[in-house]
Symmetry: C2
């Protein structure tokens, strides 16, 4: 590998630093106001660079946001690896992973804050969508799960958790197919979701 | 209940029709281009009304979108009710619900098309976010599930489906808490997700 001349190395070094300063600023602003509301003007100001110079590092505002999400995801996965890496038993690994995942995304600065913002004003749209689209559906699911518990067919679980889990799980299984990131068929999805979920729910 | 004079009733009737025409136009445009890309100018043109008159029916573009999502959700829930309503056994109800849900959202005009659009160009950002944030994580989950199948601890399931299901399920359980739409604690979420998922996954 060729070594770069000293001067070039220093320039490269501060380029990386500046890029990171921009990403950090974008993350902090998005965590406070939400993803959509973070403007390049504000990001530049917080990073201490000229607004135009953001475009020396990122082709578009979207590029910057994707880079930011990618860094966030890598950091999560590194910590997850530390958490579950030494465990040998796959079921125990998943057991630890579930705790780690829920705790990580309940902390300050979690990805929901980055996407929707901490301040109440900026998360209004998503809250309204959840209210009209998700709440009535999870209520129905909760009703069915509660019914099953009374019938003695479903183990005594928190119906709110169990209902949210089913709805979110189905939606991501669908979303992944929609973006061509999986090769299972709808029938496979149905069969395997039923197998995991219904077996998991069934009373002992 | 007082009846309205005839003239007023007719006006009210066409008001409802116009409002519905606007919602239908918004839905069609969002399904083709995606939610964010649907402009009021286009919606007005497709609905055959003046752009300004949209604001006689909806305070903001967001109001229109929320109304559209609400109608879409109601229609889904009516059909779901028809599908599972007569079933008495709660587990069988959920079994039917899972098929119905997956099939409904795999059809033409499903909510993913409404949110992200049918045309490849407009869903690029979400696809990139999924690629940097979700794909590496589900790959790890798939690896663990595959390991467990080889260890004989996990039943023979499609690891892609099982991994997507876990990730989506955890995220919605968290999202609902983030928007104050549930009263379970993070510890409750961990406990009940583990109980459903790990029990559902465990080899017989």
């Amino acid at each position: 590998m060729k070594t770069l001349p000293k001067r070039r190395r220093r320039t490269k070094g501060s380029t990386v630093e500046t890029k990171q300063r921009i990403v950090d600023a974008a993350l902090a602003i998005a965590a406070a106001k939400g993803f959509e509301q973070a403007t390049t003007a504000e990001i530049a100001q917080q990073a201490g660079v000229a607004e135009g110079s953001i475009y020396n590092y990122f082709r578009t505002k979207d590029d910057l946001l994707i880079h930011m999400v990618g860094q966030y995801a890598s950091s999560f996965l590194r910590q997850l690896e530390d958490e579950v890496g030494e465990e040998q038993d796959a079921l125990k690994k998943l057991e630890r992973l579930i705790s780690f995942h829920i705790r990580f995304f309940t902390q300050e600065g979690n990805i929901f804050q980055v996407i929707y913002g901490k301040t109440p004003g900026t998360r209004v749209r998503m809250a309204r969508i959840i209210r009209v689209a998700i709440v009535p559906y999870v209520s129905i699911l909760e009703g069915i799960i509660g019914e099953g518990i009374r019938q003695g067919k479903i183990r005594k679980l928190n119906p709110q958790v169990a209902a949210s889990f089913l709805l979110g799980g189905m939606q991501l299984a669908l979303l992944r197919r929609f973006f061509d990131l999986a090769d299972y068929s709808p029938d496979d999805a149905i069969e395997h979701i039923r197998e995991v979920y219904l077996h998991g729910l069934a009373a002992k």
